[in-house]
């Protein structure tokens, strides 16, 4: 027993070194579970706070481009206004419906919230953004995030006033996407090489594709509304052995200066997931 104590005292530095290494590696490889349980709230609030001050400064440098983007989005929205469209049949008079609720049973599926990006990275192997909306404002995990240009990513972690978003430039990103023209569905992911493009896989070679074609979120993507622009085809990686295309996609969102985003909540997501899970249980 005495020898054990002597041994520990003699090699105390080494033992301490090993303990610290084990702690660090444990946190690293149990990232999600450990992170949530122990530090997430406090650390997110702190780094989000500093990030907010920093982005207050950098915001000024991007004012012009942000303005242009917003003006462009405004015109797009104006074009989509109902008052732009006329009815072909003018002989009929529209009668105001006096029933106060929608008799067709329409109800809301997607809910949008705006947010500002306070922290952003593009050069790391796994890139994330921090936005200034958190669980107090109703942002939860697994909500889609969209900028005025296109898809940004998915919320992976929230504190009370901030949320961390896994951007398209993250190795764990998997978003169901489809060709806008013909509707073939594939999966968008990132291989970590360059922040200038992402990869689209599982598109069958029967689909007609051309450079510059739009890729949008598919109707199977439960985090996003269908038809949101992800990017455009930049080039085709030829793989003769496969009957599927591997396409390089230029993301529509400019991740280098993204500043204002919207968080989309799919209010029926849980119901769909529950139904599918129950069905899977029966099938097994």
């Amino acid at each position: 027993m005495r020898n054990i104590f002597l041994f520990i005292r003699r090699y105390f530095n080494f033992v301490f070194f090993v303990v610290l290494q084990v702690v660090a590696l444990y946190i690293l490889f149990h990232y999600n579970k450990f992170h949530e349980a122990v530090f997430s709230g406090v650390a997110n609030e702190l780094t989000g706070n500093i990030g907010g001050k920093y982005s207050n400064v950098t915001n000024y440098f991007h004012l012009k481009s942000t303005n242009d983007q917003l003006a462009k989005e405004n015109t797009e929205l104006r074009n989509a206004l109902f008052s732009n469209f006329t009815r072909p049949d003018t002989s009929q008079r529209t009668v105001q419906d006096t029933v106060p609720y929608d008799t067709l049973g329409h109800f809301r599926k997607y809910k949008w919230r705006d947010a500002r990006v306070v922290n952003n990275s593009v050069s790391l192997p796994n890139n994330t953004l921090t936005i200034n909306r958190g669980s107090n404002q109703g942002v939860q995990k697994n909500m889609g995030v969209i900028s005025s240009q296109g898809v940004v990513g998915v919320v992976i972690n929230t504190s009370s006033n901030y949320a961390v978003v896994m951007s398209l430039l993250h190795r764990q990103t998997k978003i169901s996407a489809s060709l806008k023209k013909t509707g073939e569905t594939g999966q968008v992911s990132w291989d970590g090489t360059s922040p200038l493009f992402v990869t689209l896989k599982h598109i069958p070679k029967s689909a007609p594709i051309a450079k510059g074609d739009s890729i949008v979120t598919s109707s199977y993507a439960s985090y996003f509304p269908p038809g949101v622009l992800i990017g455009t085809i930049m080039d085709v990686v030829d793989d003769k052995s496969s009957s599927f295309y591997t396409l390089r996609i230029k993301p529509a969102t400019n991740f280098f200066n993204v500043q204002y985003v919207s968080v989309v909540e799919n209010m029926l997501k849980d119901e769909q997931a529950k139904l599918e899970e129950e069905t899977n249980k029966i099938n097994q």
Partner: protein
Amino acid sequence: MSDLVRNTVRFVLFILVQYYVLFQIRPLHEFVVPYIYYLYVLWLPFTMGRMSLMLVSFLFGLTLDYFTQTPGLHAAACVMIAYLRGFVVNILIPQEGAELNYKSPSPVSMGWAPYAVYVLVLTLVHHIYLVLLEWLQFGSFLFFLGKVLATSGISLMLVLITELLFFRKEKFRTNTA
């Protein structure tokens, strides 16, 4: 300025510069990632005990980790160089007791050549360990080798620039004064 204040200020500055300047630069290539923050560990005073050295480095790395959302990655690498720092200094210090005459490792206190070796060795160790941890999660051997070499090259250049820009005057301390 006392040692405590100086090192606290450095702690904050190194983190902010690393995250808000160097990590925000558009990457030239996936291999080239400019790192400077670990210089904080190399600049800590001689008189700190091994244990407190490792503890401070752990907290320092973990702080950066919370900015980059990779808890544990930089902390592990920082603890590694903090542990090995003592051995390297002992081998490179020119004569017995020289570490008592000066406060912290610098070109003045150790001489340019030994200091360069000290920085080179610890830089390589830091990057090899850091990229190895990344490599365990993805990538190929070529990725590992290329990233270690390219990243070490750019980091050494940054260290040289920092040493020249912020030249640290080290007073020779004797017990007679």
